[in-house]
Symmetry: D2
Subunit: 395 residues, 4 copies
């Protein structure tokens, strides 16, 4: 998506894909992000929703969003059923609920023959994820897991640098994701976002680990492609009364000998969304920071550090095709998120046309969700064993 | 638009506004930005276009964008005529052509009773702008001029800080907009964007001055609200064979005694879009940089510098209502641009309903275009007089 | 040392302290740093040296430095003997040799009744350090260990912030010290600095660990004052043929429940001397980076990040007394190092006058060296046990 | 001064140069900076002083500094006389008084055959400076003017980049020096540093202009070597009751067609010592900021921005010889100032030995002071004429 190509990205389509949404009603955060991302490149039209488990709230939200009220459903099951029976039923559903509902909902829609865009982490357990994977594999449907940070153009470029050997053999991975919004027990004071994220019944075994630790892991995995061998982890809960971890510290061993460290925290005062990745190889090192995503620092060994900017000639094709506006005009979180949606649209159009998904399309999938769940379980096991080395079960 | 409020922004509307576009066909840059901005908050639907003066190209572009081919017009005049006759004709037109066509096109659409969103600078001359203003004032239609940097949330906050007296009496304004893309004579090598921008017949009297100097002036004007009294300017053309200025240096005197400096350049190697504003008052100073727009530095006198971040509790309501996602997740150029579109939609809906435009709505208008043209003419006159002090004619 | 006070710091002394040096001849690095630091505030005069084990080189170096050739000694033992017999013999010796000689030399000079300034790490083993400690305790002499980063004014301020409770209860410590100068096997290509640092016989059990890992540990210890409880560590040697670790990754448990991570590396391409400390408490977080040492980021919970600058009114007395020049004029590594020398001079003058060392004087001592050796041994033991938790023996 | 060479810099001398000082007694700022800078590389020994016009204060200051009380003089005239009669009299005098005394003192010491190190600006007027120049030219003595920013290694490298054509033909110079310490009328509240700097009788015709505007001008001049052709300036006094300018805005025309802007301010809230230089040529651009002086940004046209660091292999010999410690360990203001002192020592030793000054020695001299005074007078004249273009009289 260079300047000229952005026009191409906008269109080249017979029609917009029909999108449904489960979750994302009034008061939600990530639902609005999904909707906006779906509109960005004009590949989708939101036409149906089960926006809340509360029927009235679902309808009110649907009307606010301009949906046809008859396509506002009281349950996701009803929605899957009814939409799959319509000639103009949804092509794809976005699942933006708390974690415990991801798999049950995905199963219903896959069974109804509908493509899936699902928020992360994938599931409540690795076993549940594997069950879903089996279904998805036989369904032939597209499954996108919105590990959205992989949509940033310079993350794509970082990956390309690793793949093309610019950094040499990778030795070190340092990844961190500090936040501070849970520094105090706000889940005990009625903050909805905090409530479900600190509730094992809705979040799963990981608190900070599942919410942002998986993002950090996924980002490192996406960029380096290094298979994780073992983790040595310590989970901590600092805030009294909290039921899940709010700080994650991990030593990483990768297959082939690379090493790493991963830190995620929700009690690191002064950090909003401090996701940062550093990768060091025998020939160079790179650093990328989500809060300033249009910049990728690259240092070739023995030479000065260079600041690679999104949209500039120094950046290769993997990033260029994810770029909408010229260098120096910042793109942000929503553009990165929208890139995932747009790539998913390209995949859905290909699959629905019986064609292979273009090789340059590279959004995170259910397989990444499985890896994430294996990572979570290995980390929890390691921590419970007092920071023993544990090998994630990537099956 | 806090997290919760963003849902409100998306909807609350009976229907999307019908948008037409003049210009913005294949190979254009800013047209795609306008379209994307119109989609961001779901207030608009693009339904018609005269996307190119070349009829075939116009049609091809329209089809690519998914327009009904019968609403792809060979000329803007035809489009204004036909659309104004349809019951479902466009509510508003986006004019995204080179500068010399802004006023002719706007006149036709205003006469057809259609709201206007127009790229900047407004016109080829102050006189032409004033002629348009007269028409617009009697039309009762909304006129938005896309000085898009005013849409950034932290620019809104900077303005609010000045208005509420946080900075005390303003003494100094330092604004700059360096770029480097015209460091070499690429307009002589077939680069389309460079060609018209360096052509007086299509750009007007200012080159760098009209293209980005007006943005810098507008940003300072928007934030400080200080009426400009006099300019002392030197325009320079560094690149041999270039027909318009590529560097702008200005001393500014504001009414009331504040002083300033403005620098804009298209030959400053190393700068992509280096728009930066600094304002200093008796009680504090601020700094904002477009390439890192989620940060506003604020230093109260005698105290440490603070980094105010978009979406954080430190930022007031003027910024909060322009904010889609939480602090730490970067917003960018497109979100700022979209804010202008969304505010314009709010204004159009109000006007069409016979209601006053809500007071918090604050997008740049034709009046800002008039000021910009007066600024351009004063700067050119000053420079031609060897950097004499010249008073802009804000009539 | 505010502007006015710096005059006081320069003088207030009957005479300069007479300084000897062991090591630091031609081709050395840290010797010149010590000499310069000793001159900075005019408390010392270098008068004697055993600058090299090579007698000719020692003499040549001494003459170059303007020493009286009769006070250039062929061995440190001779120097200790002869200088202790002179009426104008040295007051203090600076030991700037490779690690394996620190203790033997220090013992000789302590026995000769001479104060010690010694480079870090203290010794080859904890046992050797403890042996020295016993001698030093009975000697009544001042012993400074040049963990020089503790001399930076803003490190002093960070410590003061912790001590006065500004950050609340400390929860997290993230400290790192990446370098890249050993990314390739330069010790096999004749680089002298690399040779001894990667030689267990001269460096001890830690490579990167002893060279810079101890600095990172010491800095965190100095600022937070938290007693280290346990380490879980992985040492890695990436460069083929290297005999000591070149990468250090540690999980930290502090007494009282705080947690931490420590990373040190000499193969992290793109880092020169990237020492960085972050500390997070219940009420605030701070960040300090050695490469930009005149800035301390401080974020109170729920408020904007503040940039505290050295020399500014926002910084307290602990930092102010270590400050020579106004805010905005950068101080650097040498000023921080010199602060250690100047504080040591104040201590020596006090001790020699039979007075107590002023309480505000706070340079690192032999006790810090013991802690450092205990840290090294615990980390090595942990790593050898496959990242088991090991408790450092601080005896 | 690479790591190894720093030893050479420290010595290679038969004896230290004997330094006297006029001014710099208790409560002074810059005197202590000069003294420290003289000690840094061990080329000087302070042996005499007329440290204050107040005899008692002078003596008290001398004793504090460890001077022989018989060499504390009640007047600079007495000092010049007595010292010139001693066999071990001073070689060089440092003049660190307010501006109005620079020339009278320098004349006395030049007449006494003593080398001069003088603070800036040179004089009260261009005419006075020219009178001194005539005397100095016949004296054969070394005259250093401490425009200390030229001593920073990366300023040397920037100059080398211009000279070797790396940047191509220079088009643009943007230099600024904002401070905020005079934002309020502290000179009316007894602040000594503010008092004389805002007093025309002691500072001359320029306030902010003479104090820091000349530094900005000198820095640009030193780096680019471009002869200044004309200035178009506006001086402003913002603080009520102040007798000299506290803000300086200038458009610059250089011979050969380059253009520039210079801004200096002492009322820009939030800036401590914000000296910054940017230079743009046809092949590249650079940026250097005094507060972070170990970094020089360099952008070759069409390529990514590079961060050149002091001490790194990317930096040439002009910088390397001014460098004491490795890359990543910050040097600061005092090291840059000391570089001026050390180069002056090299010049004095050469001149006293009847040898030419080595060509690589490159400290600012009386000639730079003349340029500075011509600059001040041209700016004042331009401003008084309402920002007319005025050509500085560089005679």
């Amino acid at each position: 998506m260079t300047i000229e190509a952005s026009t191409v990205t906008e269109g080249g389509k017979s029609r917009r894909l029909r999108l449904g949404m489960v979750g994302g009603g009034e008061g939600a955060f990530i639902g609005a992000v999904h909707r906006l991302s779906s509109r960005m490149d004009d590949h989708y039209e939101l036409v149906a929703g089960a926006l809340s488990a509360d029927k009235d709230k679902a309808l009110r939200s649907a009307i606010t969003l301009g949906l046809d009220p008859t396509r506002s459903y009281a349950s996701y099951a009803e929605m899957a059923l009814k939409e799959s029976q319509r000639a103009d039923g949804i092509d794809v559903v976005a699942i933006v609920t708390p974690n415990h509902l991801h798999v049950p909902i995905a199963e219903v829609f896959l069974n109804a023959g509908i493509h899936i865009i699902c928020d992360k982490p994938l599931s409540m357990s690795l076993a549940e994820g594997l069950r879903l994977q089996k279904l998805a594999n036989t369904s032939g449907k597209v499954f996108c897991l919105t590990h959205n940070y992989t949509g940033y153009p310079l993350v794509r470029h970082a990956r390309e640098m690793v793949q093309t050997g610019v950094l040499g053999d990778i030795r070190l991975v340092q990844v961190e994701y500090p936040q501070d919004w849970l520094s105090e027990p706000i889940e005990q004071q009625g903050q909805k976002q905090a409530e479900w994220r600190t509730d094992p019944a809705r979040s799963g075994a990981g608190g900070c680990l599942g919410d942002i630790g998986t993002h950090a892991y996924n980002l490192a995995d996406y960029v380096t492609g290094l298979p994780l061998d073992q983790v040595c982890a310590e989970l901590t809960t600092f805030v009294p009364g909290r039921r899940l971890d709010d700080n994650v510290a991990i030593l990483l061993r990768y297959q082939g000998g690379a090493k790493g460290m991963l830190w995620a925290s929700q009690v690191a005062v002064g950090h909003e969304n401090g996701l940062r990745l550093r990768v060091y190889g025998t020939r160079g090192g790179i650093e990328w920071i989500q809060a300033d995503p249009n910049r990728l620092d690259y240092c070739p060994i023995g030479e000065p550090r260079r600041i690679l900017t999104r949209g500039s000639p120094a950046v290769g094709t993997a990033a260029a095709r994810m770029t909408r506006i010229p260098a120096g005009h910042p793109e942000g979180y929503l553009e990165g998120f929208a890139n995932i949606y747009t790539e998913t649209a390209l995949a859905i159009r290909a699959v629905d046309a019986g064609k292979p998904i273009p090789p340059e399309v590279n959004f995170p999938t259910l397989q990444d969700g499985i890896k994430g769940m294996a990572f979570i379980e290995a980390v929890v096991a390691s921590s419970e064993a007092g920071a023993a080395w544990v090998q994630p079960q990537f099956v």
